[in-house]
């Protein structure tokens, strides 16, 4: 029996109030907020955050990694290797990308279910469009990870009862590589196609599972076509109160990450066993999984739920959002741009740079970066710390000045002067001496097309600050 061993959903800290769009762009916007990746986040860094949450929740270890996104930071070279390095997976654990289309995520999940070993499926995405357009408002940024395996690998939290997939060639949404936004065919066309595909796939999957529509406790319909998703749910026969919230008003549509994120939210919403959850994804066809929660779910500790993250965001202005997305060119800092990181140096130091692994010497001191004179490796990524002192640097180069830097003492030893991120000036007790912070994997800058990934520190969410 295969199923879900663990999951993690990650939402970036910032929220764009859709009402702020129209005043600037002259059109667009709407109600609610959408999640916005910080300037130092991309699909990979958010994927790492989700992957860490997923792996923290299980004793099982992935034997393969798949990474799905429509916004790969790199082409030609694999993005999943960065996730692999940050999660410190073994050398013999393969890492593959499934990138470009939203449906890549469903494909990666399908491959994981077909495999014979535990597979971590990570999906991260940034969705947007041109200013004032519907995709800009409807989109969201985030990531989710599912660890898929069998009951031999660890306690299954939800087991797979049936699945189906139908594929059909039609063009309702398209984007030429390099373009900032998708283009859309007349909405009714896609709605018609997807409604038929979703209905067909749902029937097939329930049939394979040997279940009736009335057995479905939660129906999740993912997909970029919002009207089609509603129509599929409405025609499914599943009562409206059993159709999962697509988080449109709180997160937005996170593209390739949406199916796993909505599944994570559904699993977190009710720990009862025996619940039948149907995950239906509409993307160039339809993919359906029928899952049933197990007794192990109740004992599963959720470290940081999707709902908790929804509740803990902070606003970002529309102007800042546009600047972060590169849609509003702003005056760069008058400092020399940083040089590209050396690939050979980064490769030698990958445990430190990507894995945040320091060292401990015979003198007991934890050193970051690690010293070649020390014998013991000390992984620091999961260790929280306390701000000893900090400074706001309005002179240093940053893609989004000012730089906030803190000297952080990590619990159990180790001090590092480290850049802070996701700092909300209004949240005063997150931004003072003695404040609690945690390491977070980020993209510091990009130079000569090389993304410089490394770790920063960010304030612990409010409920987790005791310590």
């Amino acid at each position: 029996m295969r199923g879900i061993l663990s999951w993690g959903g990650y939402l970036p800290y910032r929220r764009l109030d859709r009402r702020s769009i129209r005043a600037v762009a002259g059109a667009g916007g709407g109600r609610g907020v959408r999640a916005v990746a910080s300037y130092d986040e991309d699909a990979v860094t958010m994927g790492v955050a989700a992957g860490r949450l997923a792996l923290n929740g299980t004793p099982a270890e992935p034997r393969a990694l798949w990474f799905a996104t429509t916004e790969p930071p790199y082409l030609d070279r694999t993005n999943a290797t960065t996730v692999h390095a940050a999660l410190r997976l073994g050398r013999d654990v393969p890492a593959y990308d499934a990138v470009g289309s939203v449906r890549s995520a469903a494909g990666a999940l399908g491959a994981a279910l077909d495999a014979a070993v535990p597979v971590l499926v990570v999906a991260g995405d940034l969705r947007g469009g041109l200013p004032g357009g519907p995709d800009e408002a409807a989109g969201g940024d985030g990531a989710a990870a599912l660890l898929v395996g069998s009951d031999a690998d660890g306690p299954l939290l939800a087991e797979l009862l049936g699945r189906s997939s139908v594929t059909e060639e039609f063009v309702d949404r398209w984007r030429v590589p390099g373009e900032a936004a998708s283009r859309l065919w007349e909405e009714r066309f896609g709605e018609t196609r997807y409604t038929a595909l979703g209905t067909e796939a749902l029937k097939l999957a329930l049939g394979e599972a040997g279940l009736e529509v009335s057995d479905v406790d939660t129906l999740i319909v993912a997909g970029l076509h919002g009207r089609a998703a509603k129509a599929v749910a409405a025609r499914s026969g599943v009562p409206a109160e059993r159709v999962a919230d697509r988080l449109d008003d709180t997160v937005g549509n996170v593209g390739a990450a949406q199916p796993a994120l909505l599944l994570a939210a559904a699993l977190e919403s009710d720990p009862a066993e025996g619940r039948v959850i149907v995950l239906l994804s509409l993307a160039d066809g339809a993919d359906v999984l029928v899952l049933r929660t197990t007794t192990a779910l109740a004992a599963h500790k959720v470290e940081r739920s999707v709902q908790a993250q929804i509740a803990s965001g902070a606003p970002v202005s529309y102007g800042t959002y546009l600047a972060w997305r590169g849609l509003l060119p702003v005056e760069p800092p008058r400092r020399p741009e940083p040089a590209r990181p050396s690939s050979s140096a980064a490769s030698r130091n990958r445990d430190w740079k990507f894995g945040f692994v320091g060292s401990r010497g015979e003198d007991g001191m934890v050193r970051m970066p690690p010293s070649p004179l020390d014998g013991a490796a000390v992984p620091m990524a999961a260790t929280a710390g306390t701000i000893v002192t900090f400074t706001v640097d309005r002179l240093a180069y940053s893609p989004s000045p000012p730089v906030v830097f803190a000297v952080v003492d990590f619990d159990g030893g180790g001090r590092l002067p480290i850049e802070l991120t996701d700092v909300n000036e209004a949240d005063e007790d997150a931004f003072e001496i003695g404040a609690r912070v945690e390491p977070t994997f980020r993209r510091l800058f990009t130079s000569d097309g090389i993304h410089n990934y490394f770790w920063k520190a960010r304030p612990l969410p409010k409920p987790e600050r005791e310590g």
Partner: protein, 396 residues
Amino acid sequence: MGSHGIKDRVAIVGMGCTRFTEHWDKGVDELLLASTGEAFASAGVDKEQVDAYWLGTAQSGMSGLTLSKPLRLRDKPVTRVENYCATGSEALRQAAYAVASGAYDVAMAVGVEKVKDSGYQGLNAFPIPNDGTQRTLTAAAMFSMVAPAYARRYGVDSGEMRTVLARIASKNHANGARNPRAQFRKEMSVEKLCSMPAVAGGLSVFDCAGVADGSAAAIVVRAEDAHRYTDKPLFIKALSFVAGDGSGLMDPAYDYTTFPEVATSARDAYAQAGISSPAEELAMAEVHDCFTPTELVLVEDLGLAERGTAWKRILDGAFDLDGELPVNPDGGLKSFGHPVGASGLRMMFEAWLQLRGEAPEERRISTYGSRSLALTHNLGGYPGEMVSFVSILGTE
């Protein structure tokens, strides 16, 4: 084993120093010709009579050719040295040791930096290929962390601390205003300095050293030969240099209220010079005031004030030009700017002028005539990872 120093074995017999300013019309070559020309004339020698040269520059040129080409030196040993912001002092140290060893009779130390050709404000380090995990904070931000740490440790409230830092800047600006070689020659009131907007931590632009081009040079000979070149040589009493191991950045016990490398190099220098009570014995000190909180901590690390008292002594004017122990009588990095390779030699140039009575009366130190020792202190790096140089020079 031990640090023995070269007390009274080597003397400075000639010096030169350009104005430190934005030399838009002068390059490295012109600056070097100006400072060395003045030093040659000061010692009454020509370039052929100097047996060996040391050039300090952080990033305005590589190798001895940076000096040998503009001066048209032929067949001379010319060495370029770099040691962060203590580069100029390092050049002098190497030249002095070479003479002390007996290898050469006459040696020159030159420091130069052409900072203003970068196109950016401030000092910008030459990027060395790295893994991209290095700190990107400016020096201003790193040193800004000293001020709140000091205030907390010694119970100075933030308003008072602001005044203390402004007082340091105001003193150095007042000294610089009287010095024709300084970049900034305008007095600044404490009130005005306190009202400047912060750019890094609590520091304003006026808490930071200026940015200037400049060059300075010194000629050294064996002490017994010194009077062949000048009636008033400056004897080297001590040269101390310490490179930290960088552990302050990683050590939870480090609290940003002291620079241990500086305290160590000061102890070593005082031992070499036979100084037991620096605050009473020194006539003046030129210290590395790259930022105002740096000077605050330095006067304690150098033993010029008891721990936790420097802020009060500063408010009392103890280190003013007419105070008990003038600190940065020439105006310091604050008024001179910081052409990295030249600053250490510029500090010695002030000792050269003051101890020998050549500083004009309006900017003469209060201790002139009663004390004969000067300290120069030059550091490079940041709190937690720095290099520190201390020299003691004297006329007797």
